[in-house]
């Protein structure tokens, strides 16, 4: 009896050039300067970040740029205890939804510089940016968010 063919290899490689478009390019260029921006919907008044040039609730185009704070509030989070291939952070670490001051939808980022088991919903955090020389038009320009105490200004 002849051996069954159990495997053939058919390598596939396709390359793509992604176009961020005007609206996201504007957002990413601002990130490279240490600024976070959103778009306000003219119908529901909500501020979306990152802006995509339209309001997902109303389905209309948006164009009003709103400058946002790099401080915000944790709306929910999880603690990652799972090791996986390519992991760059030491477990356990925290991924969180962070509602930036001035925005109506949260962004996702890491929370560091504190024990994972002390993160809470409602906690105030601020962006820890990379050094000026390393700032690029992507969200890796923010290393992570870290806790802040605002008692002094209260």
């Amino acid at each position: 009896m002849s051996e069954p063919v159990t495997e053939i290899r058919t390598p596939i490689k396709l390359e793509y050039v992604y176009t961020a478009g005007d609206v996201q390019s504007q957002f990413l260029r601002a990130v490279a300067k240490g600024q976070l921006t959103g778009h306000r919907c003219s119908q529901c008044d909500k501020v979306y970040v990152p802006p995509r040039g339209l309001c997902p609730t109303d389905g209309v185009a948006t164009s009003e740029v709103v400058e946002l704070s790099d401080k915000g509030t944790v709306t929910t989070f999880c603690v990652v205890n799972l090791p996986f291939y390519g992991q760059s952070l030491e477990i356990p670490y925290v991924c969180a939804s962070i509602l930036l001051d001035g925005a109506d939808v949260p962004i996702f980022h890491l929370i560091q510089e504190m024990p994972a088991d002390e993160v809470t919903i409602g906690m105030r955090v601020e962006a820890a940016w990379v050094d000026d020389a390393e700032m690029k038009p992507n969200l890796a320009s923010i290393k992570h968010f870290r806790p802040i105490s605002e008692n002094a200004s209260a």
């Binding site: 396709l14 793509y16 992604y18 478009g21 005007d22 339209l54 997902p56 609730t57 185009a61």
Partner: protein
């Protein structure tokens, strides 16, 4: 069967490479225009269905992003086909037959520019025996063109004439990408791209989007002066294996055309989805369209070929001819797969 009509159609300006907008950004004004022109209110639309392909964008579930253009709140009934939007329109037509809703929004979108389209198209071929050889989409079409030219007396001049007429018609189409007056002899003097095909035999590579609103009986009459009633719609598919088919004919188009009732009355206009010049000749034969039929007044896919939308656009253009009063009865055709593997035929009529 419930009467269903196309009551509005919109499409994006087709561009070789749209650097200002992503897929969703191209789509948003197109959907907004189609809905506004339809006279159907957004909250009256009972069903929404789209056609697109992740291989164009190079990212999984890329169609989910497009939901942002709908204002999907409160949550809506929605569906998606990984096909040309013409097949989304078919799903919407069937959905409207259920009888509980009276209108549907159909849209499609895609940027062909992010990847190398000729290679991306290879992935629709048989993955074990054909795709590993990486025959690009123009080469696959050229196999069909050669078979046609050798079989029935068609010449390369016939193909060039299709290109010249398409580009001339496209001068009237503000959304077209390739338009103008060309000379058959001058085109034939150009080099082959992949023999027997020259550049003019091939479609442009296009970024684009399209949208159509469907409405049933009384609603269609209320919102539209001349609804384009869908009197017949059918789609048929042939074997995936190129070698198993006679590439010089299109039995699936012929059967779909018969079932859709193309021959039941005179056809004023036909919008045929023929990305390559020789494919128009094959489709015309399959649908038995005579010389009185105006073919592709829009310029067809040779004037603009936004992947996943070019078929839906043919149906939209055919319907536009009826809605504008230019035609009493029109045929829209859409194709999918290599060498006209799968074909849809839609007959639209005015009152």
């Amino acid at each position: 069967m419930r009467d269903v009509a196309i009551v509005s159609f919109a499409q994006a300006t087709n561009l070789r490479r749209n650097t200002e907008r992503d897929e969703v950004g191209i789509l948003q004004p197109v959907v907004a225009e189609a809905v506004e022109k339809s006279g159907v209110k957004r909250d009256e639309i009972g069903f929404t269905v789209s056609g697109s392909c992740d291989f164009l964008a190079g990212q999984p579930f890329s169609f989910v992003m497009a939901l942002d253009v709908l204002g999907a709140w409160p949550p809506i009934q929605e569906s998606h086909v990984e096909m040309d939007g013409a097949w989304a329109l078919y799903e919407a037509y069937v959905r409207l037959q259920h009888g509980d809703i009276d209108s549907a929004l159909v849209y499609s979108f895609g940027k062909s520019s992010p990847g190398d389209l000729l290679d991306v198209m290879v992935l629709q071929l048989d993955p074990y025996y054909t795709a590993p050889l990486w025959p690009d989409s123009v080469s696959v079409a050229a196999l069909q063109a050669r078979a046609l030219l050798e079989s029935n007396g068609h010449s390369e001049r016939d193909l060039a004439e299709v290109a010249v007429r398409s580009r001339k018609n496209a001068k009237q189409n503000p959304k077209a990408q390739v338009a103008g007056d060309f000379d058959v002899d001058a085109l034939l003097a150009e080099d082959y791209l992949v023999s027997p095909l020259r550049k003019h035999d091939c479609p442009p590579i296009s970024d684009g989007a399209a949208a159509i609103v469907l409405a049933t009986g009384d609603l269609a009459k209320r919102v539209c002066e001349r609804p384009a009633w869908i009197r017949g719609i059918d789609h048929r598919i042939e074997s995936h294996s190129l070698g198993a088919r006679d590439l010089t004919t299109s039995p699936s188009t012929a059967l779909a055309g018969e079932k859709a009732g193309v021959g039941d009355g005179p056809v004023d206009v036909a919008e045929l989805h023929a990305p390559f010049t020789h494919q128009e000749l094959i489709i015309r034969d399959a649908l038995k369209l005579d010389d009185n039929v105006q073919i592709n007044p829009s310029g067809g896919a040779l004037a603009a070929n936004p992947m996943m939308s070019a078929g839906l656009i043919r149906i939209g253009e055919a319907a536009s001819q009826v809605m504008s009063g230019n035609a009493k009865r029109a045929v829209g055709h859409a194709t999918s797969g290599p060498c006209l593997q799968q074909n849809m035929v839609c007959v639209v009529e005015g009152d």
